[in-house]
Amino acid sequence: MVREQLGRPVEILLIEDNPGDVRLTREAFIDGKVWNNLHNVPDGVEALAFLDRRGEYAGAPRPDLILLDLNLPKRDGREILADIKADGRFAAIPVVVLTTSRTEEDVLRSYGLHANCYVVKPIDLDQFIKVVKSIESFWLCIVQLPPAMESAAGRAA
């Protein structure tokens, strides 16, 4: 493993409304090599509340990684992506778009909105799990995730 140990679980925010997909994703991550906590919110409005630590999310941890479905109820995932990346407090958090759409337009648009990566959700169950495990291997084992701004600022002095 390349990444330095954090000494705490990696906090993942899964923005996904399909319960079946949520369950599969959760299972794949529980099984993972790296200690992590998966938090799920069913739409973008809840997601922003989670990030803001509003209301029931007052004690929510800051996510180290966000998995975002583009097709969400209430507000479209593409808008949520734009909002997250426009907010200086959260822009550095890697967002992996994990969605059913395969269109080149969505791919380009997502990268254009500064998504860190775009992954198409396979329909096949086994493939889905493989994909999530690959996400886990790369983002949790190999990658250095960005620290919260406050902690890095303290170190820079």
Partner: protein, 141 residues
């Protein structure tokens, strides 16, 4: 078919040993296609501006002479042509300020350069598999 084989990888790295190590690692991992190498920030920007070269993926060291990696990253993101080009920042440093800044400037991920070759190979396998088999990349322009 392993798309990693067909990808054009752009490597911005000043250390000639690290370049040689990377070459061997890519070959081992099955990267058959092109490897573009820039030895400093100026060369990196010049090569990126060259319309004949079409990189699919960038591995960027932040410690580059002449123009540093952060500046190169900023300019990649500011450019019309390469704004969506995936850039994985690869660096010896694990300093939090460097990691944070890389993501803030639009780097897609940050990977610390492993010291041991075996670990480098493993990281490359995972990286290659993730970016070229699992993820969708924007079409190179």
């Amino acid at each position: 078919m392993n798309r990693f084989r067909r990808a054009t990888i752009f490597l911005a790295e000043d250390n000639p040993d690290d370049i040689e190590i990377a070459r061997r690692a890519f070959k081992r991992a099955g990267l058959g296609s092109e490897l573009i190498v820039a030895r400093d920030g100026e060369e990196a920007l010049r090569l990126l501006a060259d319309e004949r070269l079409r990189p699919d993926f960038v591995l960027l060291d932040i410690k580059l002479p002449k123009i540093d990696g952060f500046e190169v990253l900023a300019q990649i993101r500011a450019s019309e042509r390469h704004a969506a080009l995936p850039v994985v920042v690869m660096s010896a440093s694990s300093r939090e300020e460097d990691v944070l800044r890389s993501y803030q400037l639009g780097g897609n991920s940050y990977v610390q350069k492993p010291v041991v070759f075996q670990e480098f190979m493993e990281a490359l396998e995972i990286m290659g598999s993730y970016w070229f088999k699992v993820a969708r990349l924007p079409r190179s322009r």
